[in-house]
Symmetry: C2
Subunit: 217 residues, 2 copies
């Protein structure tokens, strides 16, 4: 019971800072999403294909969250966009104050989109508001079609589901119809895209959805 | 076999309780490992292939940890072995007191091997001793070859690495040599097996290793 109380306090403080971040994003008219998934689902590859596709249309900035290493930031920086790496040193999720720290290292002026790539973890980041407009959850076909039922909180709190690595469907034990049905059973409001970072299938549709979310200046 | 479900109630002093669990395992001369990985790496499939392979040689019991659902316990129960399901209700790892609760629902007498399948999470379970002899970490080729460097704590605390889904190597961007080098750079003591639950490649070698760990009665 005492553990529950402590968690409420921490989340209370987190929600307060998240609200400050959100106000900052609104002031700058910047669309922000929080990209979440298991390790290895393809968050950074999605990010790379997205940056390629959006190049020259809108200005994008990125915050990278990782337990260790700045590998992902290095991958993203190649696309010549501003990126701040948060290393959590073992921490299992980003929180709003870490994002606030990152925001102090960057300027939002002139940007229309900020993508926050969370730590690879399908459990803990589900309940941490960073101030984003919405969460985008990635699940890959190689993980199996039962994941939405087994990790419901993340799918419940997300607005968009990217089903990634659809090029591997012929080789894995994953029924796309079942995966979608399971996801929509948890959250009927999910917008679903099927993507492959290898074939780039689904990337234009996903990027089209992003464009539609960019606020008018 | 019927499935018993336990839900999280209280947190104990983890290491103290882990030590009590460990003593219980030693008394019963039962070898216990804690199976950890990201969601979808194939822990339950590994478990199924292992149970098939070991059938008729040693007596195995299983504790299943999941955030929600008893899907994994249902899969394991088909092999006609005792299984206790722990549902953490959002909790991101098993702890020693949850395992102690599970142990109260089962008998260890006559068993030589207890497998504890943890919640799918490559971060949080790394630092929770459950009383096991050692941790076995599964990483699948579809997750990419950089995971040991990005999630070092789990690889540092594990004794065995199962590189799973090696049948998918032709279709994914993963260099097996790099993956192994990265893992051994974090922990040079790791015993490594390459497995596929589809082709069953590597399963006999992995099960041979288990057999070698079973204490003499």
């Amino acid at each position: 019971m005492s553990v529950i109380t402590i968690e409420r306090k921490i989340l209370g403080k987190n929600d307060e800072v998240a609200e400050q971040n959100r106000n900052q994003f609104l002031q700058h008219k910047i669309f922000v999403f929080n990209l979440v998934s298991s390790p290895g689902s393809g968050k950074t590859s999605i990010l790379e294909r997205t940056l390629e596709h959006l190049a020259g249309t809108i200005n994008v900035a990125v915050i990278e969250g990782d337990v260790q290493t700045d590998f992902d930031a290095q991958r993203v920086a190649k696309y010549n966009i501003p990126v701040v790496q948060i290393v959590t040193r073992g921490g299992c999720h980003l929180d709003a104050s870490l994002v606030r720290e990152a925001l102090q290292k960057m300027t939002l002026t002139g940007f229309q989109l900020l993508i926050i790539e969370n730590v690879g973890n399908l459990v803990c980041p589900a309940n941490y508001d960073l101030g984003e407009a919405l969460k985008v959850v990635v699940v890959s076909t190689t993980e199996g079609d039962d994941k939405p039922l087994k990790y419901p909180e993340m799918f419940r709190n997300a607005s968009v589901l990217l089903i990634n690595k659809i090029d591997l469907l012929p080789y894995v034990n994953c029924d796309l119809t079942v995966l979608k049905r399971n996801a929509l059973q948890i959250n009927s409001q999910l917008t679903v895209f099927e993507t492959s970072c290898t074939t780039k299938s689904g990337i234009p549709e996903w990027c089209g959805w992003i464009i539609g979310k960019i606020p008018a200046k």
